[in-house]
Amino acid sequence: MSLELKAKLAIYDHFAAVGSRPSVDDIAARVGAAVPQVREIFGRLRAQRVLVLEADAESIRMAPPFSGVPTQHRVTAAGVTYHANCAWDALGIPAALHKPAIVQSRCEQSMEPLELAISDRGPEASHWLFHCVVPASRWWDDIVFT
């Protein structure tokens, strides 16, 4: 297994375990590599659209479906609280974890709270809707806005 793949898996393992982003130092310690080497790997993972990094080029903003920063989309599974990048990723977290979860978010127009239970069979019956203004071909033009 390449160091890059080890680092990628370590990033996702960290998010899955604790719900928050790891630092470059965390991943370097986890995979037994030097910090500058891991910083380079973060850059390569960004180029592959595996990660979205902050302006400092090393803090993880997104490791989809996980968000490295608090958002309006919260997911709780097995006692761990996660933040999702968007409504799609809010369901993506239980899909990635393969665990039942509660998704908490809101209606963007009315600010009514959403609480949606997700089981291994999927979401409970719900009339809520998902809406995206950006066409699929443009999602990565500005993925934070998307």
Partner: protein, 76 residues
């Protein structure tokens, strides 16, 4: 990519913000999208769906039209 309580609320939000109304996606469809994108994300063999796979996934969920066309040159 946002949640809305109803189609009426989506329409009101589009009117307020000036954003165009796009195709609406039900929660069961969104779950299938989430599974297609992320069910292997924590595994070594994980990779993001490529444009041809995306088209197949969208078609299977009756998400048709140019809005859902990933246009392969937009994906690295």
């Amino acid at each position: 990519m946002l949640f809305f309580r109803s189609e009426e609320r989506v329409r009101a939000w589009c009117m307020t913000t000036g954003h165009p109304l796009r195709p609406l996606v039900r929660m069961d469809q969104l779950w299938e999208l989430a599974r297609a994108w992320y069910s292997t994300r924590l595994l070594p063999e994980s990779r993001r769906p490529q444009p041809a796979e995306m088209r197949q996934i969208f078609a299977r969920l009756d998400l048709a039209g140019t809005f859902w066309d990933p246009q392969s040159d937009a994906f690295g």
